[in-house]
Symmetry: C2
Subunit: 439 residues, 2 copies
């Protein structure tokens, strides 16, 4: 029997690890909670009705159809037995492994205020994207039916919490929808009067970017019609709005549509791993891994992607934390696969080294910021050229020829017509299945 | 103030009625439970992962953006006041009208066995389509994880109840998915061993078709790998399968994926209308309308589409019932609009006359049957030419240039690759939000 490699999670890290083991003499099992690999960088476009879900989600087993050493299973791992080398799925089934790669990713964190989740959904899964799409579109629908001016204004106030890439993208796109997509379709309200607020706790947006680009991003957001509130701490969220505190004092923002893009917490599987191996978790619940991404004392268990608190080890330099971005996850996936091949060949594993090719974020139509590391030094630009660069980079990395083509087509259509074709809310009457389940 | 026209429901009938009043000197309000007009003839392709939802669903207010006399409202009408000329929405809001067009459509009927609904969902809404897509795809996923051969076989047995157009389309496409889309993607099961059954109570499928074409359809279904059980009455459905009775006796079919395409019942709004006006409902709950589609004694209330039990009045011929197909609904919509215009001009209304341009149904790849009324007599054909005809007819009637193009593209892709791009189940772990809500 060939060595059994088990990969938990098929995001960027897990997918890349499985692919990098294509030619290895192993049997690979990929377990994921959903049936699809999600191209998360474009998930905000599903949430804002610019793309339909199948354009950015590919069935996992379809991606592996020509890789016979991969078996795909739909299931949720709930426990890990590090000594007995097996995992337990939610329905009680067990899978054994010789080499384990844990790539279970991250989820939202409300910093201990999980009661906020019902009023301010986050954006990690397709289900989240549909929920945000539903709330945004139905807020305009409710405003069209509302006669009271104060309630109408509250319905037309959208708040995004968190000024990272996702928050900036969502806020910029909300403003675009209000200013360009919807006008002309309503008879009682003017969608252009919608107010979009971006609330960020630190003094600038896009903190991973150089300060000058953060400032460009803030300017571009403002030009798109987003009100950016920096240094604003959220102190409460309820069904009617949220409370923030800034240098100017406390403020209440009425809103029926709040999106949470502020906090990320590692998958709960980190705790299962800590219980099984005694490994250390950092404050965000991420698993502290060794230089080769394996767990101290458990060389056959590697943790990658957003679940790993990993360091980049460049020769002759101090180790540096790896940022939680998709290139990081992919590179860790390749490193984990290479280390399994090396171990099978009786060689020593190699430390992980993160290569930073740069950082880009889009803000809205014709607006983006780009920060690239080139051999000639840092290349920084913003505005229209940055937006074009962002666009082609994302289409390039999107999986599948068909999806690339369809997404380009959707974008061209949206660019010329200002229409967003996926403005469909499946549930009747605006009922939210998630809400029904909670009720 | 201009006369107020209220249209309840924006399916084929309601949409056509509102459009036909484009130039009329009236204010139109269109109320619908969802935010989209649905191209129902292709809904089975969303259920079978061939198309994504936005390809066949257009936001209603987007369709009316260039018709300034239409106001679109999202809401569910629960009561009608015929004397006071108003309707009440679910949230208590009231809308008044001078002319009312009720086009609320139909829903599934389980012939008094509503307890079957949980085990055999029907196909009327996008939410239904997602639920069927989820069940079909997750049945294959569960089979891949199942070790017990009997349970595995039950998971790979798909039953469609009802041999009308929707049942035939669903069964044909399920067979295609099992035989052409999925093989090569599973490691433990062979999807080609899936069994697809079509259960029909009458002696033939597609009863609206001439007998010879029904027989062609049955042959084509068999060729695609569907087992057609005619004259089979369903006596019970539960979570594990269904019981049927045929001439050969009682039979039990194990299945974890049953789809109900057998019965149609009019919208519950028919009962509200009967309560308000004393009008008659037929056995399927449809409102019996007068020759001009109005209610006896209430000339300003017209009922159209699947909710109406209407007759076609051709000069010099016996009145004939109008079939429940989309051309019927559209023609009624135009007739209702014309009658409102005539009443406003002080003219007498005209009786509804249904023009039957023919009947077509597709079965699967390269398979369809067509029955057209031409000046030279009935034109009947089947197989590949009928399939091409079906394909272009459906793309032609699909709303919006963009959607036509995208659907053609999706179909061309699927035809060449056998891939179905929308094989995405949004919920994690295969949990069904609808189920959670029930639980």
């Amino acid at each position: 029997m060939r060595p059994q490699v088990l990969i938990i999670g098929c995001g960027f890290g897990g997918l890349e690890a499985a692919r990098a083991l294509r030619a290895a003499d192993v049997d690979i099992t990929v377990v994921d909670k959903t049936n699809h690999h999600l191209f998360q960088p474009l998930l905000y476009q599903v949430a804002t009705a610019g793309l339909s879900a199948p354009s950015i989600a590919a069935p996992i087993r379809h991606l592996f159809r020509r890789q016979p050493n991969v078996t795909t299973l739909l299931g949720e791992v709930v426990a890990i037995d590090a000594q007995g080398r097996s995992v337990t799925l939610k329905d009680g089934a067990r899978l054994r492994w010789d080499h384990l790669i844990v790539a279970a990713g991250a989820t939202h964190s409300y910093f201990g205020r999980d009661d906020w989740a019902a009023f301010a959904p986050g954006l990690k899964t397709l289900q989240d994207a549909f929920e945000i799409r539903r709330r945004v579109l139905l807020a305009f629908e409710a405003a069209e039916r509302e006669d009271d001016p104060a309630r109408r204004a509250a319905l037309l106030q959208f708040v995004v919490v968190g000024g990272g890439p996702t928050g900036v993208e969502l806020a910029g796109t909300f403003a675009e929808i209000a200013r360009h997509t919807l006008p002309g379709e309503f008879r009682r309200i003017d969608p252009r009067q919608a107010r979009v607020l971006l609330v960020e706790g630190s003094p600038r947006v896009l903190q991973a970017m150089p300060e000058a680009l953060s400032e460009r991003a803030r300017e571009q957001l403002t030009a798109l019609g987003v009100e950016v509130k920096l240094g604003a701490r959220v102190t409460g969220i309820d069904a009617q709005g949220l409370d923030i505190t800034t240098a100017a004092g406390a403020e209440r923002l009425q809103s029926r549509c709040i999106v949470w893009a502020a906090g990320v917490a590692a998958s709960p599987l980190g705790r299962a791993l800590a219980a099984a191996t005694g490994c250390t978790l950092d404050r965000a619940g991420r698993v502290v891994v060794g230089p080769d991404l394996s767990l101290p004392g458990f060389p056959t268990i590697q943790v990658i992607g957003d679940l790993a608190a990993a360091q980049s080890h460049a020769p002759g330099r101090e180790p540096k934390p790896v940022p939680g971005v998709s290139p990081g996850a992919k590179q860790m996936g390749r490193c984990a696969a290479a280390n399994i091949r090396r171990r099978l060949a009786g060689q020593a594993t190699r430390p992980f080294r993160y290569r930073d090719y740069g950082n880009l974020a889009t803000i809205g139509r014709n607006s983006a910021v780009v920060d690239l590391g080139t051999p000639a030094g840092q290349l920084r630009f913003s505005g229209y050229p940055a937006w074009l660069f962002w666009l082609f980079a994302h289409v390039w990395f999107l999986i599948g020829f068909r999806n690339r083509f369809v997404v380009l087509l959707d974008w061209a259509w949206a660019y010329w017509t200002h229409d967003r074709h996926a403005r469909v809310v499946a549930t009747a009457n605006g009922a939210s299945p998630a809400h029904d389940a909670q009720a």
